[in-house]
């Protein structure tokens, strides 16, 4: 069983036309897989995760097919998606820790959410308590208001809530960026624990922090300007990436042990293209050190060049041929 996304296109409606924020994503996440989704701001990763669970204006569904466990997800229909949300597909959105109603006690909030999904609170309570133990939260939090919890505690609470119904797919959007380093590690490890205990079957972890992905993800997918650039097992992406963008991205990351005076790192000159009228051909060609004529004319398809290693780059296809 898996998540199969086929040529998904979601645009943003603006006054001046459609912004092609997500322009044809095709990938699969298998059961038990933690896939990291990385890229810079504007690459479309949040669009992708948001469109899978709550596709609302100004986002517009343009085309493509999404299948979760052999069942098609009607992501363009907000009403029909209600049956899937929280039970089969769930999300921990960015700033989730600020999304809790400040004047509701947490236990009351949980019971209200469960009620709206037609789930009985009392029968779920024992499991809820077990999960709280797992994330090292005392049962007293159910009687507290959100303001009484620290940032990390709120994040863990939201994690428990989002996974309470054992969804098949869980998406975590930048859940560690606002946390301290020590809490980050705990929260990231909790995600892995949830997968190991089969509370969730598939995980999509969206972040710009690739080092976290190195620690917990099985595979990493890199996005650029609304398109998929490369997807491969984690160690491949970090140690032997093949897409020029991935290579430049990985080599621009400072790590402990790297000093300016010894090895000066470089960034990627230029800016991502505007997606209102995207450039023809490969969207990375303007900043790519190895771009050639074909890159200007034709868009490279996202193709599997080796088992489990997908890439969209004409140069790399040449090497393989």
């Amino acid at each position: 069983m898996s998540l199969k996304v086929n040529n998904l296109k979601v645009y943003y409606q603006t006054l001046r036309g459609d912004v092609k924020a997500l322009d044809g994503a095709t990938f699969t996440i298998a059961d038990g897989e933690i896939m990291g989704l990385a890229g810079e701001s504007g690459c479309g990763k949040s669009t992708l995760s948001n469109s899978l669970i709550l596709l609302k204006p100004p986002m517009r569904f343009v085309g493509g097919k999404v299948e979760l466990d052999n069942e098609e997800l009607p992501i363009w229909d907000m009403e029909k998606m209600n049956d899937f949300r929280f039970k089969k597909i769930s999300t921990i959105p960015q700033y989730a820790m600020n999304a809790m109603n400040p004047i509701r006690k947490i236990g009351k909030m949980v019971s209200e959410i469960l009620k709206s999904k037609k789930v009985d609170f009392k029968s779920t309570l024992p499991e809820l308590k077990r999960r709280l133990d797992l994330v090292e939260l005392s049962h007293d939090v159910l009687n507290m208001y959100p303001i009484e919890l620290s940032g990390g505690m709120k994040q863990r609470m939201v994690m428990v809530l989002s996974t309470l119904m054992n969804p098949s797919l869980l998406m975590a959007d930048e859940i560690t960026s606002a946390l301290d380093v020590s809490t980050q590690k705990a929260v990231a490890k909790m995600l892995v624990e949830f997968r190991d205990r089969e509370f969730v079957k598939k995980l999509m972890v969206i972040t710009h922090d690739i080092s976290i992905l190195y620690q917990i993800a099985d595979s990493i997918m890199i996005m650029y300007a609304g398109k998929l650039a490369e997807k491969a097992p984690t160690s491949v992406i970090i140690n032997s990436p093949r897409h020029p963008y991935t290579k430049l991205l990985i080599s621009s990351l400072p790590d402990i042990g790297v000093k300016y005076s010894q090895k000066k790192l470089t960034g990627i000159p230029g800016k991502p293209p505007m997606l209102l009228i995207p450039p023809t051909g490969c969207r990375f060609r303007e900043r790519c050190p190895v771009a050639f004529q074909k890159c200007l004319n034709e868009e490279p398809p996202f193709v599997e060049i080796k088992k489990g290693h997908f890439i969209a780059c004409w140069k790399e296809f040449e090497k393989n041929a």
């Binding site: 409606q13 001046r16 100004p58 009228i277």
Partner: protein, 286 residues
């Protein structure tokens, strides 16, 4: 690549496109023009005895006549003018005081804020009706101006609170800190950095004060605490009720003024909602 439209054009585009803004502004403008042009349509004064009493609307007397034979239409037009005057003067004074107090309190914080807060709360709590009753005993002759001033000086706290909250939030933004480490003095920062950001807020505050002033004036006039030497919409309603328009079924005397007040104030609030959508890009529907 398309050049980004100028900000002012973008603003006008959304302003004109916004239904609420269009409807609200049209209604207000309609009554305003009526108030300005109206006096030319009538030769009478509001308290002239022009014709038969209790007369329903007819060709000669468009809005009929009162129990004394006065022309209701004339009263209506002049009353409109009075209401707009109160709105502008009373609303203007209220906004001015509110902005000064709120701005100062919000920017400086500390003891100044505490003091101004206390002042604001005292003014809110003062029973304005009682004070007005006392004033009316001493001032036998009151005009629209006095009424406007009174309203302005008692309605400002609401504006002050809103402005203070907005100033507080702007003050803690990084660009204010940047201005401080550029050596700019606090007063200058208030006017050059914070005020421009609040323009839209100030406009909306004024509109609310304007509408509020008209409403308060109508209420005061209705209970007889309004101007003694002029007619206003509220006074019309007061007189109508006082002189038995209700049991006599003289709807033409009390319905037009009431409806006009409701329409103007309602339209002003509608305009405000529309303006909010225009100023706040997140509320815009495409």
């Amino acid at each position: 690549m398309t050049k980004p439209k100028k900000r002012i054009n973008e603003f006008l585009y959304f302003a004109l496109k916004n239904k609420r803004l269009r409807v609200g502004l049209s209604v207000v403008l309609f009554f305003l023009i009526l108030a300005l042009v109206g006096p030319l349509l009538t030769d009478y004064k509001w308290d002239d005895y022009v014709g038969p009493a209790y007369h329903p609307p007819s060709y000669e007397y468009w809005f009929g006549t009162t129990t004394f034979g006065q022309d209701v239409f004339t009263q209506f037009i002049l009353g409109l003018k009075a209401s707009f005057l109160v709105g502008i003067i009373g609303g203007g004074i209220g906004t001015l005081i509110g902005v000064l107090v709120g701005f100062t309190a919000g920017y400086h914080g500390g003891m100044i804020d505490e003091f101004l807060n206390m002042l604001t709360n005292i003014v809110i709590v003062i029973p304005t009706l009682a004070i007005l009753l006392i004033i009316s005993v001493y001032l036998k002759v009151r005009g629209v101006l006095i009424e406007s001033i009174f309203i302005g000086f008692t309605a400002w706290p609401w504006a002050a609170r809103a402005i203070r909250a907005q100033t507080f939030s702007l003050r803690s933004r990084d660009f204010v800190d940047l201005a401080r480490i550029s050596g700019i003095r606090p007063l200058k920062i208030m006017f050059t950095e914070i005020a421009p950001n609040m323009m839209s807020y100030l406009l909306m505050t004024f509109i609310l004060q304007f509408g509020g002033a008209i409403l308060i004036a109508a209420t005061l006039d209705f209970i007889g605490l309004g101007p003694t030497n002029a007619i206003s919409l509220g006074l019309m309603m007061n007189l109508a009720v006082l002189w038995g328009a209700l049991p006599l079924g003289m709807w033409w005397w009390f319905i037009p003024p009431g409806a006009a007040i409701a329409a103007i104030v309602g339209a002003l609030y509608l305009t405000n909602v529309g303006l909010d959508e225009v100023f706040n890009p997140k509320l815009r529907k495409l």
